[in-house]
């Protein structure tokens, strides 16, 4: 599968823009590509094909131990698409994703702009802080956030009690789905911002200073300079970052799963990632779970279509 998609651009290019290379039909590129292709095939191709096969089968716990699986056609898909739970979870995931992506991008860009202005020492300090947040394992992050928002002993309740004077001790942050996602959102955004900030900083620092200076002399406001000069310069980076964030936040699993263990009501806080886990791993219905995963893959592909097309376009230039 991967070999055919790769063949086309190579063939086109060698026949089109660089016709003199046409006669050299060396097998070398394929030899060089072979290890990558094998690894890709084994690590990505096989699980994906297996997933698709499983989504058309009745696959339960017994099938894991070698009982042959029965083909059920599109049964799993029709079951899922007619299940209101699935649509609730999907809608919830999308709303949560939009919330996270918006604030991640906003904070990331603001920090990147800040880093452009900082002197060396503070820039280093900010970078280290960001790196630490980024390097922290997700599970450890969630345990810490679980403690921060703990119902009885959490520091948030303690601080709120001493600031407002009202008794916040015993306030459960996770039991209400909205505040559950607020806590989950803080943790996810906290960890996603560093990547955005670094990448944006790298992009923004490439904007030529003289252009900005000229614009300043012409009397533009800082916001105008950002909107009309910086953003167009880094547009492709922005697009990629937004699409990556969308994908990451849509399939978020660890943070939600770990937080569900701390408290809250699972049924009201499942996102698409934890829902697949619930159906597949916890209940042992691997067929329907695979079907949901395939649907998610299709959604992801639709979202990243723009990104892939953009990348291919740039390569052609």
């Amino acid at each position: 599968m991967s070999s055919t998609t790769l063949e086309n651009p190579t063939a086109e290019r060698s026949s089109g823009s660089q016709p003199e290379r046409k006669k050299r039909k060396s097998p070398l590129p394929w030899f060089l590509l072979a290890p990558t292709l094998i690894v890709l095939g084994v690590l990505t191709g096989y699980p994906l094909i297996r997933l698709i096969i499983m989504s058309f089968q009745e696959y339960e716990r017994a099938q894991l131990m070698g009982v042959p699986a029965e083909w059920v056609g599109f049964q799993n898909y029709t079951d899922i698409l007619t299940d209101p739970d699935f649509w609730t979870v999907l809608a919830r995931s999308f709303v949560f994703m939009i919330f996270c992506v918006f604030f991640t991008m906003l904070l990331g860009i603001l920090i990147a702009l800040l880093m452009l202005r900082l002197n060396k020492g503070f820039k280093l300090l900010t970078s280290i802080g960001l790196l630490l947040a980024w390097a922290m394992p997700q599970l450890a992050t969630m345990i810490v956030f679980g403690w921060i928002f703990d119902t009885e002993y959490g520091v948030v309740n303690h601080v709120l009690t001493s600031i407002t004077g009202n008794d916040w001790m015993g306030h459960s942050w996770l039991i209400n789905p909205l505040s559950f996602f607020f806590v989950a959102g803080i943790a996810i955004i906290w960890q996603a911002v560093p990547f955005i900030a670094f990448t944006m900083y790298a992009g923004l620092s490439q904007v030529p200073g003289e252009v900005l200076e000229a614009a300043q002399l012409d009397g533009t406001s800082p916001f105008q300079r950002f909107r009309l000069i910086m953003v167009p310069f880094v547009r492709s980076i922005l697009t990629v970052l937004i699409i990556l964030s969308i994908i990451w936040d849509l399939r978020v699993f660890t943070q939600i799963f770990a937080l569900q263990g701390v408290g809250g009501i699972s049924e009201q806080t499942n996102t698409i990632g934890t829902y697949i886990y619930q159906v597949g791993m916890a209940q042992g219905h691997y067929g329907p779970a695979s079907a949901i995963a395939v649907i998610l893959v299709i959604i992801m592909m639709a979202i990243s279509y723009y990104y892939v097309r953009q990348t291919l376009k740039e390569e052609e230039l």
């Binding site: 339960e60 716990r61 119902t151 009885e152 459960s172 886990y277």
Partner: protein
């Protein structure tokens, strides 16, 4: 020239990779063959115990006895967590890296026995203890008349308290229990500590009022009974206690119960009997207890029933089985035999766990707490005997529903929704 070398390197690396992959494949198959015909070769055994319930003495006994009986073999105990156990066992038992002996909750066993995850132990039944084994747990480990998972231990629930906080007489009926718990409640003290996710503790209230979890009709379909008349009555009592007698988080879990207890903010604490060890631990232990304060005079009684006597409580405990994919099934069975030997079960009994062998129960310590546990165990009940029951637990529908009850939601509505969910899982 240069290019030729590149080609050569690439080809070489490709071939190496292919060979390595092939090697992995052939390795797998040869070890599979090895496992089926190996009689008692030496090997390295992995035993999964869950939670901290198994005392350290017993662990040491198991390793020492096994390694001296099986020269050249080793046994490693890997401790797992109760939370998410079904998921973890499903993936690991079906993988090529399966542990050899696993402990599983008695209510979870049927999910695995019914799907071929465990080795058949029918022929070893007598060697493992035969009719001396706890029969309720033998039943939990049997599927289709085949014996897959042996009893390991049972642990009933008792109600713990300290006379420093609970000064009233020990209640003799369920109603008295509820009213004294409510009387003892202040802003700082919970008359009864009840985190919302702890659904095991709610079952006695349902049973004592004539309700049930789920029953199987003659045609094989399951009917859930939380919304039955007795079920609703029991759940209303549960809500009364959760809302009016407990300051525990409505969405909290029943983990680390010794923490609030040692703070002196708990009146009654209904918990498995092994919680005793967490409470009476030294204050400077790795997991600190309070042997010097509220743990110094720890006492317990069996939850009273509606008409006096011990209430019907949930029989917690574990089964133990040999993984179907174990590479050393013979060694695994010998480890299982050690765990069910009189010597091992005696250690469990000495630590207050109800042993899997009835004959070893005489070694239970002769104290108030153990007797409270034994009294409760004599009147204990199990969750519905359906292979799908483990799915009900794994899907957390019970936890979710009891969190809603603890929040003060409408009991009839919650119970009806819960019954629908349970029925849809059990009848799927």
């Amino acid at each position: 020239m240069k290019r030729n070398r590149l080609v050569a390197t690439t080809v070489a690396s490709t071939i190496t990779l292919a060979l390595a992959l092939a090697a992995c494949g052939s390795d797998d198959s040869s070890s599979d063959e090895g496992s089926s015909d190996a009689a008692v070769e030496s090997g390295d055994l992995r035993v999964w115990l869950v939670g901290t319930d198994t005392p350290q003495d017993a662990r040491d006994y198991l390793i020492e006895t096994f390694e001296s009986e099986n020269e050249g073999s080793t046994l490693t105990i890997e401790e797992q967590a109760w939370d998410g156990l079904v998921d973890k066992l499903t993936t690991s038992l079906s993988s090529s890296d399966s542990p050899d002996v696993v402990e599983v909750g008695n209510t979870q066993a049927s999910a695995f026995t019914s799907a071929g995850f465990f080795a058949d132990l029918t022929e070893d039944y007598d060697a493992l203890g035969g009719d001396d084994l706890l029969q309720g747990f033998v039943e939990a480990g049997t599927y289709d008349d085949k014996f897959y998972a042996a009893p390991y231990y049972s642990g009933a629930r008792a109600v713990f308290y300290t006379p420093q906080i609970v000064t009233n007489e020990i209640p003799t009926t369920l109603d008295e229990y509820i009213s004294t718990a409510k009387d003892n409640t202040t802003d700082d003290v919970s008359g009864m500590w009840w985190p919302g996710q702890d659904w095991y503790n709610a079952l006695p209230f349902v049973w004592e009022n004539g309700g049930f979890i789920a029953e199987q009709a003659d045609d094989g379909t399951w009917e859930a009974g939380f919304s039955s008349e007795g079920g609703i009555k029991g759940l209303e009592q549960v809500q009364d206690l959760m809302v009016n007698a407990s300051n525990a988080p409505a969405d909290g879990q029943e983990t680390d119960l010794q923490v609030p207890f040692c703070e002196g903010s708990v009146g009654y604490l209904s918990a498995p009997t092994w919680i005793k060890w967490s409470i009476v631990a030294e204050p400077d232990a790795e997991v600190p207890g309070c042997s010097d304060t509220y743990g110094s005079d720890l006492a317990a009684f069996a939850l009273p029933g509606a008409d006096g006597g011990a209430a019907q409580v949930f029989a917690g405990g574990s089964n133990i089985a040999v993984a179907a994919k174990s590479e050393n099934p013979e060694l695994a069975k010998s480890a299982l035999e050690i765990m069910l030997s009189d010597g091992y079960q005696k250690i469990l009994a000495g630590n207050g766990l109800i042993p899997a062998k009835v004959s070893q129960a005489e070694y239970l310590p002769d104290d108030e707490i153990t007797q409270a546990g034994a009294a409760a165990a004599a009147n204990s009940k199990l969750t519905p005997a359906s292979p799908k029951w483990a799915d009900v637990e794994a899907q957390k529908v019970l936890q979710d529903s009891f969190v809603k009850i603890a929040q003060g939601g409408d009991v009839t509505e919650i119970a009806t929704a819960l019954d629908e969910q349970i029925e849809s899982i059990l009848n799927s």
